[in-house]
Symmetry: C3
Subunit: 379 residues, 3 copies
């Protein structure tokens, strides 16, 4: 996409991407992964997703998600407990909700004849929940939920997949994190001194373009060429090298897809980075390492993850990324050629993200018209 590359530096974020700019708390009508299944038990867990407070809880092997606010006096239901299995009871006055429906099934301080039970005004909202690949997925939106498989990367649905990883709530908007993830340019500079780069002879530049994967599932960074050494006028050669560093084949494939998922294919295993919208100022970072393996090979992979990947890739490198995510202040911004990865991702969101009822009603279904209008407002 040479045309794309030329135009990237002229893009102005925000005005050119009205839907993306508006998605401060993420795109709705998607399934989002929020935690490891093995971490969810009888005890309620409070999360935020797309800005909404949600309580997760497990009963009889199944995960449930409710809006995390008791309609009585506004206390979070996540402060309560399953006083009766299958029901969540508010800690304050014992209002007791059916996990499956959100109905007020009983009020433990008002007797069995309580006239308020079952009324629609005191029903608590529920969210569709599914479990795939060892993760809990929650659907937020105003449209009927599609099958969860629509939003889970297909490789995560393979049988026999070992999934390791870590979830953490972090400062910063989810889009900064996602753009940092798909961004090709920063890796060679920001991470030049990372531990994993110590033995590796790094290239000076990677020429690439963005293109859909064959199955259409991912927007991929496709490498066109690698340049090993360059000399900058007035400055000199770059990058600097140590004599012990050797060329190694690096990442074999990086891609991104909606709603917030990065693919990072490595030799022998596959990484995923999840930038789940929490609220405007925080995202839930999920870092996964996966491999099809069983028996001793699976155990080896788990050990290797917990002793190496967890600290070096999901620790130090990610710390450098987080440092930048918290420091970024955009707009305004001035993009350059490698930012085609970012603009292609923004365009993907702009044109293909599922629409809310309000968007659908206002006729904002014609992406072309929207972009045209936005372009006219751009400075």
């Amino acid at each position: 996409m040479p045309e794309e590359q030329q135009s990237a530096s002229r893009e102005v974020a925000g005005s050119a991407w009205p839907r993306y700019s508006a998605a401060t708390t993420g795109f709705r009508n998607y399934w989002y992964p929020v935690m490891f299944s093995r971490r969810l038990g009888r005890k309620p867990v409070a999360i935020k997703l797309c800005g909404e407070p949600i309580v997760l809880v497990r009963h009889a092997g199944r995960a449930y998600a409710l809006h995390d606010r008791c309609p009585h006096r506004g206390v979070p239901l996540s402060q309560g407990e399953q006083a009766f299995p299958g029901f969540l009871t508010c800690a304050y006055h014992g209002w007791t909700y059916d996990l499956a429906t959100g109905d007020l099934a009983a009020v433990l301080t008002d007797g069995p004849d309580s006239p308020i039970c079952g009324k629609a005004a005191v029903r608590v909202g529920t969210y569709p929940v599914a479990e795939r690949a060892g993760l809990v997925w929650v659907y937020v939106g105003d449209q009927p939920a599609p099958p969860v498989e629509a939003d889970v990367p297909s490789e995560l649905l393979q049988p026999g997949l070992v999934v390791e990883g870590v979830f953490q709530v972090r400062k910063g908007n989810w889009r900064y994190a996602a753009e940092n993830g798909i961004d090709e340019g920063h890796a060679k500079y920001l991470h030049r001194n990372a531990l994993w780069a110590f033995w590796r002879k790094q290239s000076a530049l990677t020429l690439f373009h963005m293109a859909p994967s064959e199955d259409g599932e991912w927007l991929m960074r496709v490498r066109d060429d690698t340049i090993w050494d360059v000399t900058y006028p007035r400055l000199g050669r770059w990058p600097r090298r140590h004599p012990w560093q050797r060329r190694r084949s690096g990442t074999s494939g990086v891609g991104i897809r909606l709603p917030c998922t990065l693919l990072n294919r490595q030799k022998g295993w596959t990484g995923y980075e999840l930038y789940v919208p929490w609220d405007e100022d925080h995202y839930l970072s999920g870092l996964l390492a996966t491999k099809r393996a069983s028996g001793l090979e699976a155990l080896k992979f788990r050990l290797w993850y917990r002793l190496w990947v967890r600290w070096v890739f999901h620790g130090q490198q990610n710390g450098e990324d987080q440092w930048m995510i918290e420091l970024m202040r955009i707009p305004p911004e001035r993009l350059y050629r490698p930012d085609v990865s970012i603009t292609a991702w923004r365009r993907l969101c702009e044109e293909t993200a599922r629409r809310t009822e309000a968007e659908a009603a206002s006729g904002a279904h014609c992406a072309g018209a929207a972009r045209l209008a936005a372009g006219q407002q751009a400075q």
Copy 2:
């Protein structure tokens, strides 16, 4: 009040109680208890009351209260000291105020001929102060202060009363604390595992109504019946019991009165809870335990308070209440039958709280008209 009980769940806070909703920093024109007398000495003490910064200080056995701001450069007078007994001197430039009148009596850095002394523009506001029941009471308002006895519970004025307790500034609006105090419903659920409940067989429900005490001083919760066990459909029996728990006669009387005082009559002693408005987001919690006693009996009561009540009732149980007060997010709210205690308290405030000059002037003296208007605005 069966009619009351039915309508409670339909009440919408805020619109139905305009004066109460507006009283974010409390009702003015009342005497408020703010600290134990024995804690106030020569050293100035800074408090807030109804949002106003106030400095308290004692001289020659008498307590004084001044507005806690030097008119010169806005430094709190509570940072200063009694450089001359009976006068409070600002720490910055030595502006020296007469405790009794608030007049600027001298400026220690401008000489005896300072022309600014005694001028009305530099007088500091004073507040009526009284001491009763071992507590310091301060009057805030724009109307002439009534005798302090109008706002001190009459039982606190008895001679020979032993008063123990504790004051703490806490997060949360005073009304949340007051509503939690008079609220009957939460005690049986929120406090079900409190230490004092360990030996006590608790009832499932208390049927009650709200009514004035015989002397008209308190709005009381009057018990109509006690139900010991109930079975909820789909859930089962409640509450759960331990075999060692025995029925005990519980609280013999709970009432509330303006401006912010809860009465809690126990067997052999009387408790009070004070929810003094500090600012919009904080209240001063006062927890008192009182008993008419002298000599050895008084000493026994003091010991029993400090070794038991202080930790179990004024500690753990109150910690559970505070947990809820900080978590509550209303409006909106959905009330149920036991919330008649809350709505009766709101109505009491709405109809009987003393009026400010502004309210009196605007003719908002007809509570009926105000409620009617408010009802029309309700959603």
Copy 3:
């Protein structure tokens, strides 16, 4: 200025000094001292000046100042490093700026043919920098910078001057700090118990007026008379004394000048206090002790500073000042006779501070008219 003294108490801050009131982040078009030269090396240093983020860095013996924001994605350049001497490289994507011009000289992740290099839209703003008296001075403004000597006190330009001191970012607006510095009144009360006052018999009052120094460089407090003891009606004698305290000749001269510099001439050495505007809520406090000396005498002065002045004058006394600066809440204010020092300083700023382009364009060059208009708006 007896007329001045009478009117001081009638002044209302704010309305009477429109330019001064507007200068929340300082007066622009001045050179400001921001750190000791010896502290600035290859490593970038982040500061704020008049609310602007600025990065300082040294190369080949010369100090440079750039706007502290990479135009690409808004990351502070101070997080980067001189990957090539004479250039500052952003930590994120290796955008590399020429320290002398702010031009984007190279992008280490986009190759030597990067079309974005050298474009005006990605140039980073630079600030004039000079070094005098062992300090780094930075010019902020929209008018051409005058020679730095215009804003450096002339005594600081003497050859052979030893300069000791300390810089600290502190809470509070720079004007509160400057007014506290020139304020005569508070020293005798606020600092009455300071360590340096232990042996010194303090006077009760100092009569003074404000007048320009002979060379016109400073607005000086000129002592007219000293009164050792006074008796206040109803209070008594003041100040209190200890028998071991002796009269000593005190400060021989205190003056102030724009943009934010206090002169404090002592016996044998000269102090300066700098109240450099950082942002609206913080100032950079610079405390200097200077003396013309060489050889052993210079060494003695440095030792004496580091063992005595640093702790007693730049430590404890300054801590008392900072206590007040953080507590002050003005307007409103009520001024008294000694505040002529403050009002004279405000008038100096109002009438002589350099004007921004916007002020010059709007014709606000007639101080008289501005004050008249302001007076009509005053309450």
